[in-house]
């Protein structure tokens, strides 16, 4: 091997405390080194050219640059090598700036250290091999999981950019939580008026295929080439024929089903379209309530259906889709407030959740927008809102702040006054968290213009008194115990991760936190990316988000997908693990410890089990290399022999000659 060593002065950054010419001179004695020099700025244009010329003139097949951190300029020098016709992986760097010249003033010691770092680099380089990237095609279709506002935004952006989108929605209609909300804060826009058109766009966009009442069963493959299996649940209605006329709903005799869309505050028929603006607007039968499916007799809907699209024999269907990227926008679920026994949550009919209250206020809700008490249908005159139910409460395992409850509570209190002008509203809060454009002004408006009484303190218990409820809490500002009698109590329930989020995360091979929220690749710098290439995140599946953030993330994730799809071929990083099949005994321990599912079991021609690395999935961490007792699986560019060469260069005594 013929190695060239370049010692960079970095102006005086290195040269001030390292004797660069001496290091270059010493390096001449290292094995396989045929050329050494020291330059003022190796990373500069002339510095790089010097490398390129030296490679050509001295027929170098490897280069060591001793300069700043490889985290700074490794890419720069690799490109320089490539320009000279060398493989980029034939470069090693010795960090003599951040790790030497900048942290010590003793020039003699620094010089010794710099030289030793160069010797390690040379020792490793002598064990380097050229590595080549594999190229593979990209399937330019994207899977969007979840049809809430974040998913809708991502899907529309991708579709508008010309890419095929497959959207999978667990519920019967897309729209998510936003479709249930009456008004949005702080503008008090009609929620469904702004979301509705986007939902329609989804249904009508020629690039979007929508699977509602469906779930992702399995995801295999890797970035650019995922194979997705979608389970389309049986609806017992042929949706190709269903016009959404609603005749079946009118005649269905089974009317006692819990209306999930209305958060259980009303009942619905077994065959149902959840709400008038539903997308797709198709009826589906809830098999648990259907007399025909349960008892085998009824079939009224089939008789009245003008298009004869009822099909009691329908079964779940598995559909396979090929996509190149995945956006997870699975949103959140409401915290189960019934844990708070002291609030009578789930027991007292007039202690309801904030989302139930939204449905009560909504003009298209079960009450037509009239706020009434679920117990007796009377209009409440005194409404108490309790904040932080399932938020910031370690005792129920929810130490985090859900972020948006302060704002929607203020909104609901304001709307209450609008709906019932002679009503009084009280809010028990811990802190008012209202960062955001116009948010704080909005909460102040609630207090100052709408006279909402804000009491700072936790509610300790709620108990019925006559047909009203006593809300007992503390007012920490006044330092007293307070009791407020209320006609209706609204619990501002926090957000938690969607049910089955961990299971989905496993399918996507991404990580999730202790609460089941998906982990972003970096919380600050890669907020919509994951550690699995080609899988992106949007909206509240990462943690509670309000609408504008969710929409923004939807677009951000779409932008990431478009960046990915802007290339026709992807290159896999060749710094991945590789199995020496003649050493592998097929114990598959490597596959057990691989965090990315990048190792699969194969059988060779002789029938022996061997491990095989899926290069495009492997991220190059090297956990497998340490796991493998035979040293059969080696992380390229960081093989045992390469690292041992470095250790030996440092520690091994040289033989006397």
């Amino acid at each position: 091997m013929r190695i060239g060593v370049f010692i960079c002065h970095c102006g005086s950054n290195i040269a001030a405390t390292v004797d660069c010419p001496a290091v270059a001179e010493q390096a001449k004695g290292l094995q396989d080194v045929v050329f050494t020099t020291d330059t003022m700025y190796t990373c500069s244009e002339p510095g790089q050219n010097e490398i390129i010329e030296a490679i050509k003139e001295h027929k170098l097949d490897g280069v060591v640059v001793a300069s700043c951190s490889p985290r700074m300029h490794e890419a720069t020098f690799r490109r320089a090598l490539e320009r000279a016709g060398l493989n980029r992986y034939m470069l090693e760097m010795a960090n003599i700036r951040e790790h030497v010249s900048w942290i010590g003033k003793n020039k003699e010691r620094n010089t010794v250290k710099a030289f030793e770092l160069v010797s390690i680099a040379v020792a490793k380089l002598r064990n380097n091999n050229p590595l080549y990237a594999n190229k593979f095609d990209v399937t330019k279709r994207v899977l969007v999981i979840g049809g809430g506002v974040a998913g809708i935004q991502a899907a529309l952006d991708c579709a508008d950019a010309g890419y095929q989108v497959v959207m999978v929605e667990r519920e019967q209609s897309i729209g998510g939580k936003m479709a249930k909300i009456d008004k949005t804060f702080p503008t008090v826009d009609c929620s469904s008026c702004i979301l509705g058109p986007k939902m329609v766009d989804v249904s009508q966009h020629e690039n979007i295929t929508l699977y509602a009442l469906s779930e992702v069963e399995k995801i295999e493959g890797y970035v650019g080439n995922f194979d997705v299996q979608v389970r389309k649940k049986a609806t017992y209605v042929n949706w190709d024929e269903c016009t959404g006329c609603g005749a079946c709903m009118e005649k269905c005799p089974s009317k006692k089903n819990i209306d999930k869309f209305n958060e259980g505050i009303s009942k619905c028929t077994s065959i149902n379209i959840p709400f008038p603006q539903a997308i797709p607007k198709k009826a589906a039968i809830n098999p648990e309530g259907c007399l025909m499916l349960q008892k085998g007799k009824c079939g009224v809907c089939a008789k009245v259906c003008p298009t004869k699209c009822i099909d009691f024999e329908q079964k779940d269907e598995i559909i396979t889709e090929k996509v190149g990227a995945v956006i997870a926008a699975t949103g959140y679920d409401m915290f189960d407030h019934s844990v708070y026994k002291q609030y009578g949550a789930g027991q007292y009919p007039d202690v309801i959740t904030s989302l139930q209250y939204e449905r009560l206020m909504n003009a298209s809700g079960p009450t037509g927008g009239h706020i009434i008490r679920p117990s007796d249908g009377k209009e409440p005159k005194k409404v108490v809102f309790v904040q932080c139910v399932g938020s910031r409460d370690p005792s129920v395992g929810r130490p985090y702040c859900s972020g948006f409850c302060c704002m929607y509570t203020a909104k609901q209190a304001i709307l209450t006054k609008d709906h019932i002008p002679d009503s009084d509203s009280y809010v028990f809060y811990m802190d008012i968290r209202s960062p955001g454009k116009g948010y704080d002004e909005f909460t102040r408006r609630a207090q100052e213009q709408y006279g909402v009484q804000y009491l700072r303190g936790r509610v300790s218990m709620i108990y019925p008194k006559g047909d009203r409820y006593v809300v007992r809490g503390s007012d920490t500002l006044a330092g007293t115990q307070v009791e407020v009698e209320a006609d209706l109590v609204v619990l501002a329930v926090g957000a938690e991760s969607a049910k089955n989020a961990p299971a989905l995360a496993e399918k996507m091979r991404i990580s999730y936190d202790n609460y089941g929220f998906f982990m972003e690749a970096h919380p600050k710098l890669k907020p919509v990316e994951t550690n699995t290439a080609g899988v992106y995140l949007a909206g509240s599946c990462v943690g509670p988000r309000d609408i504008p953030t969710s929409v923004g993330q939807g677009s951000a994730a779409a932008a990431k997908v478009m960046t990915l799809f802007s290339k026709d071929k992807l290159e896999s990083d060749p710094q991945v693990s590789s199995v020496n099949t003649s050493r592998c005994i097929g114990c598959m321990k490597c596959a057990t410890t691989c965090p990315f599912g990048a190792i699969k079991e194969v059988t060779d021609r002789a029938g022996n089990v061997k491990a095989e690395v899926i290069e495009t999935v492997c991220q190059g961490c090297g956990i497998c290399t340490v796991t493998c007792p035979q040293g059969a699986i080696q992380l390229q560019h960081f093989t045992d022999n390469q690292i041992l060469a470095e250790v030996n260069a440092l520690c091994q005594a040289q033989l006397d000659f």
Partner: protein, 174 residues
Amino acid sequence: MSGSTGLLTEGQDLRIVGFLCNWCSYGGADTAGVARFEQPTDLRVIRVPCSGRIDPLFIARALLSGADGVLVSGCHPRDCHYAEGNFYARRRFEMLKQFLSVTGIDPERFHYTWVSASEGQRWQDVVTSFTERIRKLGPATKMAGGTGYDEECLKEIAAAVSLGDQCPCHKEKA
């Protein structure tokens, strides 16, 4: 000691080997450098992608072949660039750490910790205190190489053997 350098005079730097993951700790060491946090010069860093790549046997190899100390650092638990590397690493390192005492190698000569890319200050503290610790322990006793016989004894006898360098078959080839 290491013959790789003729510049090193006795009684100066100790031989401390560092294994640092690329994403956090190597970055942390860079950060310390950028901030000009002064550190002892004894440490020599080997960069690896992840603490999960650091085989405890690398550490053993270094200690057996003459390192006075080995310092290992990765991303803080939960912050691994590869999600799980440092979780595996932590178990592996802990086993080695507790095991070393039975071999007669002072476990104090091996330290593992977690430093993020932003913790330049912390890196300085880690390097400084570890180097001080090794300085206190002094240079490690070296493992003997040799033929399986008592080296000292052989040497003495060999000196007494009359054949010496005059042996006709002992010739050097250029």
